[in-house]
């Protein structure tokens, strides 16, 4: 396991430690603590302002203004909301399971916030823990969040909460599979699970993996929407059916914790999408030595800050897309949601893995010695070629893979009830027509003497 040691020099100087060996306090205690405080502060503020952004986006889409009264353009609204939620009474229903009821939001928000540790916010020192199982860690810990929702729904002792929790657990469990499968194609190119390693691999290939893995990216986006319970898959909190879903009985700050977990989940899923598919903090123009060709950057600090801004901008684009989808598309019905998860996303993810593997093996040059040599290569060995090879992977990934998978799934799922509704209706109408004709003919045949009737 290679752990990247990244504490800047001033921390070492502060602790009177030297770089080669004697770095325990500065590398493992002081610098991570500083990073954790900074990341938590920024992310929690960001979450508050994402709520503001969501309200503004929804308002603009619906020809309204959104929050305007607290501060200029309502910019202090998140602060006012936070104070309100802190001061509100914390109501616990009499028949609720007290201990579980109190623990559930904490489970949810901790699972959502712990994941922030392995996200590569920028180059060099901007990651809290650069572990080599980063992506697995994210997938594993973020699925603990489901437990919080289930506990909340069960302990509330309310039918709406229970129904919401049932829906959300079923939904999140089924969409997690599609999410995990969609990433694997990109991991074949990256050949590492470390989040920074994936970004470095994309840098080495000179290509964002969204171009090599467009289908994987699409499946990931849809699954991430389902995983974070966002519209159009927000069935666990469908207002018109379930009041508020699993957090119906919660109020005050415990409710705010669930809200924080939801928005933190949004940030994390878009951060993973940016890292795996959109080149992380890479941007053409922002390199270690120059910033948009404005000349060489002398300090690596400036480069790191630039990389953080690039990463944040990419996350912001994805989050805006989340909000855009939410306020445009209507909610799916429950069976449609399950169908999309199990009949489209998971098979598409599987097919993507198989096809990517096929293209990968076909592309192996003879000098590499075929498949066996590839497996002996080890984590450092890079297989994606440059030039022609990249064009080959782009063509196979988008022009060949997507139509094959799409056609295959459309053919298979044609038999399902919803996809075939049109023909069913036609059949129904034809049957009714025949029945009516028979009814009209029978009396005429039975009593021909009366005539007319």
């Amino acid at each position: 396991m290679t752990l990247l040691l990244v504490a800047p020099d001033w921390v070492l100087k502060l602790m009177h430690e030297q770089r080669p060996n004697n770095v325990f306090w500065s590398e493992y205690i002081i610098w991570p603590a500083i990073q954790i405080v900074v990341v938590l502060f920024i992310v929690l503020t960001l979450i508050a302002y994402l709520v503001y952004l969501e309200r503004k986006v929804s308002a603009f889409i619906q020809a309204r203004l959104g929050p305007m009264r607290v501060g200029p353009w309502g910019l202090l609204q998140p602060l006012a909301d936070g104070i309100k939620l802190l001061l509100k009474e914390d109501i616990i229903p009499i028949k609720a399971d007290r201990a579980v009821f109190m623990i559930a939001p904490i489970v949810s928000v901790v699972a959502a916030l712990v994941v922030l540790a392995v996200i590569p916010w920028g180059a060099a020192w901007a990651t809290i823990a650069n572990v080599n199982i980063g992506l697995l860690f994210i997938l594993a810990v973020s699925s603990v969040g489901v437990l919080g929702l289930v506990l909340a729904g069960w302990s509330s002792n309310s039918k709406y909460s229970l129904l919401g929790a049932l829906r959300s657990s079923a939904q999140m469990v089924s969409y997690e599979i599609g999410m995990g499968l969609s990433i694997i194609g990109a991991l074949m190119f990256a050949r590492t699970l470390s989040m920074s390693g994936i970004v470095d691999a994309q840098k080495a290939d000179g290509m964002w993996y969204v171009f090599l893995q467009p289908l994987g990216f699409l499946v990931y986006l849809v699954s991430a929407l389902g995983e974070t319970n966002r519209a159009p898959f927000d069935l666990p909190e469908a207002e018109s059916e379930l009041v508020a879903g699993y957090h119906t009985e919660y109020s005050g700050f415990r409710w705010a914790l669930f809200f924080m977990a939801e928005y933190s989940g949004m940030i994390v899923t878009s951060a993973v999408a940016v890292t795996v598919f959109l080149g992380g903090w890479m941007l053409p123009g922002v390199t270690g030595t120059s910033l948009f060709g404005l000349g060489p950057i002398s300090s690596p600090t400036l480069h790191t800050f630039a990389s953080i801004i690039v990463f944040a901008a990419k996350i912001f684009v994805l989050i805006y897309a989340y909000m855009w989808f939410r306020w445009t598309w209507p909610r799916y019905r429950y069976d449609q949601l399950m169908e999309l998860g199990w009949k489209w996303m998971i098979p598409a993810g599987l097919a993507n893995i198989v096809l990517t593997g096929v293209w990968y093996v076909l592309a192996l040059p003879k000098s590499q010695g075929g498949l066996l040599e590839l497996m002996r290569g080890g984590p450092g060995a890079r297989l994606v070629p440059t030039g022609k090879g990249i064009i080959y992977f782009i063509v196979t990934g988008s022009v060949v893979t997507i139509p094959i998978v799409w056609g295959l799934l459309a053919t298979i799922n044609r038999r399902s009830r919803d996809f075939n509704l049109h023909e069913q209706r036609q059949l129904q109408m034809q049957l009714r027509r025949e029945r009516l004709e028979k009814m009209l003919q029978q009396p005429a045949a039975a009593q021909p003497a009366e005539g007319g009737q």
Binding site: A63, F325, H422
Partner: protein, 180 residues
Amino acid sequence: MTAAKTPAKRTIGHLIRRLLLVDLFKGLMVTFKYNARAMYEPREGGNPNQAIYTEQYPLEPARVSERFRGAPRLNLDPENGTTLCIACDLCALACPVDCIEVGSIRREVREGEKVNKKKVLTTFIYDTSRCMFCNLCVEACPTDCLELTQSFELAVYHRAGFRWDREMLEKGINYVRYKK
């Protein structure tokens, strides 16, 4: 026979539209256009042609319809500033709820060289709590003196404030004006 609403045969075009989710992306374009327009268009509340319809009412004047009938007003002669009312009492007679009281005296008025005995307006009471803004008094007025304006802010703190006297009717009320 029941008429088929949907076409009996679905074309290949329908299938492709369905598979490529064309309608979903059309919807996205509509909402994105609204969002983009809301960012740069100047905002005037209540304009249906703009991306944002909201009018921030106390901070900006609210729009009412051209034919809206609100607070009453007694118009003055623009040339010499005297009232146009001739105290003919027609408005009070026209009023279905009897909310208008016109007070007048007969007195000699000098007009040029002649001295005429005329009815002159003294008091004019208009009870806005009973008024239903039917506009019959305005239609009855022979001199275009009484008028229902577009102002709709008629709330008062006290019940007596609903009885508008002649001064209020001629000058209007001073409202508190908020700024954006």
